[in-house]
């Protein structure tokens, strides 16, 4: 175990541990991408990673800047067209885990990546849903990872881009969904799982050194804690080295100087 790690590193590593060797994981860009590749490079070498550009079973040596970087295709088992990706592979029920990030999240795992403020008069126009609305409904289950902030983890999100558990309980079943929805939330402070009945996210484990006050101070809803909140095991030396090497390779690859200086 290592004691020298950042909350960000703990988040990525805790998220990577949730993935299994036989998972077929639809990977969101950003924090999910790092976690999925750390899993592949440590305990889950056979995991199938899918990016929405159509790359199935990809194994990049650096984290892609976009979901369609060339290396994803070059290292994939197969690359299919985007309509096929969404129709056969996602809608067809082949994906076991959809791994998403969020700009805004509520306690029932509903995600907003569309707008801050009113849809027609937005304060901030975010990029939008992309693949997420159907990843959220068609993947076997959903893992979410994001840093805790009062702006990000809110009582009421401004727009439901991707449906989690709605207002809780059996809301998903009422909409005709047969998939599990959000089953895991990993933040930079804690690991959360939905209550089996209410579906409200509940803290089951806090990262080393984190207090309940820390968790509440950066969360916009009143946090529920499990009866026995565990301590997340600190990153192992291997996990930390794998993540840091991956980030270093990625940084070097993306910041290679533009020789001509010409722009878009």
């Amino acid at each position: 175990m290592s004691n020298d790690f950042t909350p960000d590193e703990m988040m990525t590593i805790a998220a990577s541990r949730a993935l299994k060797n036989d998972d077929v994981c639809f990977v969101g860009i950003g924090a999910p991408s790092a976690a999925c590749n750390v899993a592949r490079l440590t305990h889950a070498p056979e995991i199938t990673l899918i990016y929405e550009s159509g790359t199935i079973g990809t194994a990049p040596s650096v984290l892609p800047l976009s979901i369609g970087d060339g290396e994803l295709c070059e290292t994939a088992v197969s690359t299919v067209a985007v309509p096929e990706m969404f129709r056969y592979w996602l809608q067809g029920g082949r994906v076991t885990i959809g791994f998403l990030g969020a700009a805004q999240l509520d306690k029932f795992g509903n995600i907003n990546t569309t707008v801050i403020g009113d849809y027609d008069r937005p304060k901030i126009r975010l990029p939008g849903g992309g693949g997420a609305p159907e990843i959220a409904s068609s993947s076997g289950e959903i893992y979410i990872t994001m840093k805790q902030t009062l702006r990000g983890m809110v009582d009421k999100i401004d727009f439901v881009t991707s449906f989690g558990h709605g207002t809780g309980g059996d809301d998903r079943q009422k909409l005709g969904m047969t998939t599990l929805g959000p089953t895991l939330l990993i933040t930079d402070l804690a690991v959360w799982r939905p209550d089996p009945v209410t579906k409200e996210f509940t803290v089951v484990s806090m990262h080393p050194g984190v207090t309940k006050d820390n968790v509440q101070a950066t969360c916009g809803w009143t946090v529920k804690f499990a009866d026995d909140v565990e301590v997340t095991p600190a990153p192992s030396v291997l996990e930390l080295k794998t993540l840091r090497d991956l980030k270093a390779r990625t940084k070097a690859a993306h910041e290679a100087p533009s020789a001509s200086g010409a722009n878009a």
Partner: protein, 284 residues
């Protein structure tokens, strides 16, 4: 039948003011050179569609050429938000922009329906998603066999689709390799397709199941080496990630954006793209 034309003539002959236009390319093979030519020729009131509007739509919208945008993810991939799109949506600069927003699954299905000659696409989607409340083109349909409620969106049938591809043979058959996106569907859904390619070869030298668009599905082919930059063309040059990162600062300021467009687009020629990718060719 595909005509081999300059990109100037191909744009002038195939695009009109007020047309609906798709520029497709999913991170890979984005038709930047074609978009820049459209900007130079000063088209107005375009309805533009694209699953992932990125830099080219920031540019088209910032230059005031777009009336409406149909899209599913408007971001600078891996970098952040699109500053010019945001300015249009949030502040109506340079003028108001109508948006029709979908999910990726919906757009991909809608292009496929367009290619298939169907009026709409049917899929399992938008469950619980609020886009269905703000987009009147998201409706539902009941399966007549099972009773399941499914999402329905209109087929996408652009007047013109622009794509970039690796190569054409001398007859004008076009080969696309690597990440394919929705280009084949967007071409077959369109009334007219204009394709820029890296090169023309005697023999496409590929396998029997390769993604090839026959010459009789294409209106015009234009040879523009580097025409996807700062996107990439697998086998020819790498993605210019630095350029995507730098775009954020350029697009953040209206004056800086206009000055950049003047220098690098309005006063530039299509030939400049070959120079822009020179340093990205070695490792591709």
């Amino acid at each position: 039948m595909a005509k081999f034309l300059s990109i100037r003539d191909a744009v002038a002959n195939n695009l009109k003011h007020g047309d609906s236009v798709a520029f497709e390319g999913f991170t890979h093979l984005i038709p930047h050179a074609a978009a820049h030519e459209v900007i130079r020729q000063g088209f107005k009131d375009l309805t533009v569609m694209r699953m992932t509007p990125d830099i080219i739509y920031d540019q088209l919208i910032g230059m005031g050429m777009v009336k409406k945008m149909i899209f599913s993810f408007a971001g600078n991939p891996g970098v952040g938000l699109l500053r010019r799109v945001r300015d249009a949506v949030e502040n109506q600069w340079p003028h108001a922009l109508e948006v029709e927003e979908h999910s990726h699954a919906a757009m991909a299905n809608a292009y496929e329906a367009g290619a298939a000659g169907l009026p709409c696409a049917v899929f399992r989607g938008y469950l619980g998603a609020e886009l269905a409340k703000v987009n009147a083109n998201i409706k539902s349909i009941i399966c007549p066999f099972t009773g399941e409620k499914l999402a329905a969106v209109p087929a996408l049938r652009p007047d013109v689709t622009f794509i970039h591809a690796q190569k054409a043979d001398r007859k004008g058959n076009v080969l696309i390799e690597g990440i394919l996106g929705v280009q084949k569907e967007a071409v077959l859904a369109a009334k007219r397709a204009v394709i820029t390619v890296e090169e023309v070869v005697d023999d496409l030298d590929t396998h029997t199941n390769a993604c090839i668009l026959p010459h009789w599905t294409i209106a015009a082919i234009c040879v523009v080496p580097g025409g996807a930059h700062p996107s990439y063309a697998s086998g020819y040059y790498d993605r210019d990630n630095v350029n995507y990162i730098e775009w954020d600062a350029i697009a953040a300021d209206r004056e800086k954006f206009l000055a950049w467009m003047d220098e690098h687009v309005l006063k530039a020629t299509p030939e400049i793209f070959a120079e822009r990718v020179r340093h990205l060719r070695a490792s591709a």
